[in-house]
């Protein structure tokens, strides 16, 4: 065996970076010079073009590096977060454990989290509502991807199903938004069950593609649905059914409080499920499907249940979403949205509920806040999410707050 050289780790970083720089160079440093009449095309060397790209990428890269660097540091032995004085830490630990052991106590936090509704402006309220919605989505997706170990690529389809269920039904029925929440959950879960039924029996990676195909097909159906779905124009929610103010609270405050309440309830419910027989069955399936089956776990049924539950939560979020934005169109179920939620789950830590919450907050709030300073960041958002997916898998597969058990599993088999 050769002795590992000191340069090896440096080379491991520098070589791929150089490789990427070389391979991206043609598209960055040269621009097309199109001759429309002659129907030919020329190339023009343009460092300014590359400069523009890097200028936009700069803040985005810094953001990505911060998130990833932070997560690696937290994992490395020896580097600890600045520690609090011991008695305070003990008391804090004690308090946190009280919530950890009694997840049903979580909704008790609700009044505390409702307080900001009183002094947040319209912008802050809308951001808070979306953050809570993303928490529901991320914890919901976490059931399937994190706990049961089934990759889903078309999760936004179920957000769309919930939103459209509400939008279509409210045209015919006297259906206020809060009454539509369970309906959105049920219909979305039922459709999720139907889609998963044929494909979940197979290897998990097929399912990733099936769910992606489903989302694409759904968007096409929504766009071509004519009268029923309103086509590309979508449907607006009638005044009587959208989220309205109650008593002294404005409609935005009501939306914020409803979203927070739903998010807390979902997190608490899932935390309970995770510790139940159901949750243990999911983790067993994730770790070894064959062994889980041999132990008497009905593998297919459990996987279906996980997926239907995920889909239902997204459907519920969809109802809230359309009640809040008062308008739905086919752009609710884009691939971009699915990827965003997946990145939240993976960055936060697969299978970890606090991880999903933190991932959702980080990936929604930070880009939203930074957008005020760097408008260009909006365009680079997806690029960064993609980089986070790759880099998390390569550097820190257990994510920010991943469970130790899952880390062992992710690293198993790696030489």
């Amino acid at each position: 065996m050769k002795k590992p050289s000191v340069l090896a780790p440096l080379l491991a970083v520098v070589a791929p970076v150089l490789l990427v720089l070389v391979l991206t160079a043609p598209f960055l440093w040269w621009t097309l010079d199109v001759d429309y009449i002659g129907g030919t095309v020329g190339l023009a060397f343009s460092p300014a073009h590359a400069g523009m790209f890097f200028q936009g990428l700069g803040p985005a890269l810094v953001l990505g590096a911060l998130v990833l660097g932070g997560s690696v540091l937290m994992r490395r032995k020896g580097v600890k977060l600045p520690s609090l004085p011991v008695p305070l830490r003990h008391r804090l630990n004690h308090r946190l454990r009280a919530f950890k052991d009694r997840p049903w106590a979580l909704p008790a936090l609700m009044p505390v989290l409702w307080l900001p509704a009183l002094f947040l402006g319209p912008k802050g309220l809308s951001q808070g509502t979306f953050a809570a919605l993303y928490i529901i989505l991320a914890t919901g997706l976490n059931i399937t991807v994190g706990m049961a170990g089934i990759l889903v690529l078309g999760y936004s389809a179920f957000l769309g199903i919930g939103a459209y269920t509400f939008a279509i039904l409210q045209q015919w029925l006297p259906l206020p938004w809060f009454a539509a929440l369970p309906l959105g959950f049920a219909i979305s879960a039922a459709l999720g069950w139907l889609v998963a039924l044929p494909s979940l029996r197979l290897r998990g990676d097929y399912f990733a593609l099936v769910s992606l195909g489903f989302a694409e097909a759904l968007r096409e159906i929504l766009r071509n649905g004519g009268e029923i779905t309103g086509g590309d124009k979508g449907i607006s929610i009638s005044l009587a059914h959208r989220i309205v103010g109650i008593g002294p609270f404005s409609s935005q405050q009501v939306a914020y409080m409803a979203a927070i309440a739903l998010a807390l309830l979902s997190v608490a419910a899932i935390e309970r499920l995770y510790r139940s027989r159901l949750g243990r069955a999911w983790v067993a399936i994730r770790e070894d499907e064959i062994a889980a089956g041999a132990m008497g776990i009905p593998v297919v049924r459990m996987k279906l249940l996980a997926f239907a539950l995920s889909a239902g939560l997204a459907g519920m979020a969809g109802v809230l979403f359309s009640g809040f934005t008062v308008f739905v169109d086919p752009s609710v179920c884009t691939f971009e949205e699915s990827v965003l939620v997946l990145a939240m789950v993976i960055l936060g830590g697969l299978g970890s509920i606090p991880g999903a919450v933190v991932g959702a907050l980080l990936l929604y709030l930070v880009p939203t806040w930074l957008r005020d300073w760097f408008p260009a960041l909006q365009d680079y958002r997806l690029l960064i999410f993609g980089m986070i997916l790759v880099a998390t898998m390569l550097v820190n597969p257990q994510g920010l707050l991943g469970s130790r058990r899952h880390r062992l599993e992710l690293e198993e088999g790696k030489a």
């Binding site: 010079d33 170990g149 097929y206 694409e216 790759v390 690293e411 088999g413």
Partner: protein
């Protein structure tokens, strides 16, 4: 009807070439290389940039420029395929299935958005001076119009498939590839350089995708950063239809999907092409999950 068949076959030849990349990587690593559609798209753009380079260097020349652009785009896509495996997949080999797949999805998003940001958000015309000759020259056979480009696409695909078959079945490289896909460890112990075989698979698949990319560019006349996404999904369906991991199956599946897509376009309406592909994918998974030519394999988890 014959017209639909001809158009479908031409379109199917593209799916067949892209599906080969999916199926070969799946056969050897057991993973879905989600970023393969983006490599196809990179090949497309590289072809246009290649033509641009030739035009700038020595001016307009139909055959020479197309040939050079083809070589450049194949080389470029192959380099990307190799780099993708090296950077994003190799470290995750043998880890939980979720890891390489997530990495591949991330990579696909990165590549797509990179091209969107670095080149353009809007569609680019494939330089029509180079495409016109092939699309305007046509013959009429039994009432159906068949263009030179369609003939060229089918011919190229047939040639490449024959070459690939020869490579896999008749050469030492092919033996290494087949051995690696059967049992990576045992192949390694027999002195086969497993890493090199895997890299080779990616290079081969990406090269084929680049050829397909150039063909689509000329066929449709426009290229866009998101072209690889839809084609990738359809080519993957084709690979599943033919039996994933099975090389002749991918080609067969590609042609079938192409014909079915044009058939849907002609009968139901072109707005429903995506849905028809998805319905096929679901039907195959329900009725015959191993695909048309796939052999029965135990589900290894």
């Amino acid at each position: 009807m014959l017209q639909v068949l001809i158009n479908g076959l031409a379109r199917g030849s593209v799916y067949a070439l892209v599906a080969l990349g999916y199926t070969m990587v799946y056969g050897i690593l057991g993973m879905i290389n989600f970023a393969h559609g983006e490599v196809f798209m990179l090949g497309m753009f590289a072809a246009v940039f290649g033509i641009g380079l030739c035009t700038t260097l020595w001016g307009t020349s139909l055959v020479l420029n197309l040939a050079v652009a083809l070589v450049l785009s194949v080389a470029f896509a192959a380099a990307w395929g190799w780099a993708n495996e090296r950077i994003a997949y190799r470290r995750l080999r043998g880890a939980n299935m979720l890891a390489p797949l997530s990495s591949a999805i991330g990579l696909s998003i990165v590549l797509q958005n990179f091209v969107m940001l670095a080149v353009t958000k809007s569609k680019i015309d494939f330089p029509h001076f180079y495409g016109d000759v092939f699309t305007r020259t046509s013959w009429t056979v039994a009432g159906a119009r068949i263009t030179l480009l369609q003939v060229a696409m089918l011919g190229t695909t047939a040639l490449l498939c024959a070459g690939l078959w020869f490579l896999i079945q008749r050469t030492r490289v092919g033996i290494a590839l087949r051995a690696t896909s059967q049992d990576m460890r045992a192949a390694g112990l027999m002195g086969i350089k497993v890493d090199r075989a895997i890299s080779g698979t990616f290079v081969l698949g990406s090269g084929l995708a680049a050829v397909a990319g150039m063909m689509v560019g000329m066929y449709q006349g426009v290229i866009a950063f998101d072209s690889g996404y839809a084609v990738g999904l359809k080519a993957f369906t084709a690979a599943v239809l033919g039996g994933i991991g099975n090389v002749p199956g991918a080609v067969l599946g590609g042609f079938l999907i192409g014909i079915l897509e044009d058939l849907t376009g002609a009968t139901v309406g072109s707005d429903w092409k995506q849905t028809s592909t998805f319905v096929i994918l679901i039907l195959v998974l329900v009725l015959r999950p191993r695909g048309i030519l796939g052999e029965r394999v135990a589900d290894k988890v």
